[in-house]
């Protein structure tokens, strides 16, 4: 009986919590718009890369293109491209740490 009561209470409390969230909740970040959060991450990473002269050649144009796609209503493609740009900026950030103290191999 005790076990049944605990199980029932658990199910009730989880159901109640889930009821407060809308169906489109994005678990990954604070934004409900997947494009907004993807482009924000890409832009802030790219900006940081530019500040230390380590940006990659095509990241900026990928961000621009992603914005165009989003404006045209192609959200899935826009998010994919923004994520790609963000990935580039993360790789550039990883390079930055190594490049600062780079020296010859001989």
């Amino acid at each position: 009986m005790k076990k049944l009561l605990i199980t029932a209470l658990s199910v009730f409390s989880l159901t109640a919590q889930a009821g407060f969230m809308d169906g489109a909740h994005n678990w990954n970040n604070g934004s409900s718009d997947p494009f907004k959060s993807a482009i924000k991450a890409a832009e802030s990473g790219y900006k940081a890369n530019l500040a230390v002269n380590m940006a990659w050649r095509d990241t900026g144009s990928m961000i621009k293109e992603a914005k165009k796609l989003n404006a045209a209503g192609k959200t899935a493609a826009a998010v994919a491209l923004a994520n790609k740009a963000h990935h580039q900026s993360m790789n550039a950030t990883a390079q930055t740490a190594l490049a600062e103290s780079a020296g010859p191999r001989f």
């Binding site: 050649r57 990241t59 390079q95 600062e100 001989f106």
Partner: protein, 271 residues
């Protein structure tokens, strides 16, 4: 006490390692090329890639035997030097000396001053207008100035802590990997110099600065060293950095210092 001395000695060693002096850096740099290309004389590196490849060299010599495609542009640069009153600037009273002096570290501004940076400042002083940084007028005038110093040797000095810091930043840039291809300047122009990248032979970094500004067949015109930096960065899929920015000037400072002792040449044709 013993521990303290050991710690200080250790720190001093590490600091010394972090900013090795120019002479020892250059010695190691030259030795690398000496080992890789035992038959190439140090002085011949002034000819860049033509010091490594016989076939390319004969084409180069044929071009020089005729009328080099940049001759007219360089002559025009000489006329422009006078026309715009650049000979009135203190920095360019003696054009040959100006070429040898630059790049140098200016203690007052705490920055590296390249020949092109000094030209831009002088041009603005004399005409009230701005001069570009990569091609056209600046490349023509800079090439003419460099011609006046042909035969003299590159002699970049790195003196003082701030100059050393600028040099070190240029050095880190040269060896640091960047761009989508994750490549450093050194990957092509040191470790793979003499090898082919598609149809082109990669030039050795030693001697890169002896013939700048250069005429490139690809450009069908003259361009400054920093124009070439921009092209290289783009090829590595890194975002090009503005010519004459602090970091590009520091890179040039390091690169020129690595060619100390090599003759400045007026044979500025490159593929």
């Amino acid at each position: 006490m013993k521990k303290l001395i050991t710690a200080i000695a250790g720190i001093s060693f590490l600091v010394g390692m972090a900013s090795a002096d120019v002479d020892s850096d250059q010695k190691a740099f030259i030795n690398y090329f000496k080992t890789a290309f035992p038959n190439v004389e140090f002085a011949d590196y002034t000819n860049g890639v033509y010091s490594l490849d016989e076939g390319s060299r004969s084409q180069f010599e044929e071009i020089l035997d005729g009328i080099p495609p940049y001759e007219e542009a360089v002559e025009k640069g000489g006329k422009e030097f006078v026309e715009f009153g650049l000979n009135k600037c203190a920095a360019f009273k003696d054009p040959a000396a100006a070429r040898v002096k630059h790049p140098y570290f200016d203690e007052a501004t705490q920055k590296v001053v390249t020949l092109e940076a000094a030209l831009k400042a002088c041009y603005q002083e004399q005409t009230g207008k701005k001069l570009g940084s990569k091609k056209g007028k600046i490349a023509r005038i800079s090439a003419w100035i460099s011609d006046q110093a042909a035969g003299e040797k590159i002699n970049v000095k790195v003196e003082g802590a701030a100059a050393q810091a600028a040099y070190d930043q240029g050095k880190a840039f040269f060896y640091g990997k960047r761009g989508q291809f994750n490549m450093a300047c050194a990957d092509c122009h040191v470790y793979n110099a003499g090898k082919k990248a598609r149809a082109d032979i990669l030039s050795p970094a030693l001697g890169h600065t002896t013939h700048v500004p250069m005429y490139r067949a690809k450009w069908a015109g003259l361009g400054t060293l920093q124009r070439r930096y921009g092209g290289c960065l783009k090829n590595m899929r890194a975002k090009p950095i503005s010519a004459q920015s602090e970091i590009m000037n520091n890179l040039e400072y390091f690169q020129q210092a690595m060619s100390n002792g090599l003759e400045i040449t007026d044979a500025r044709y490159r593929k």
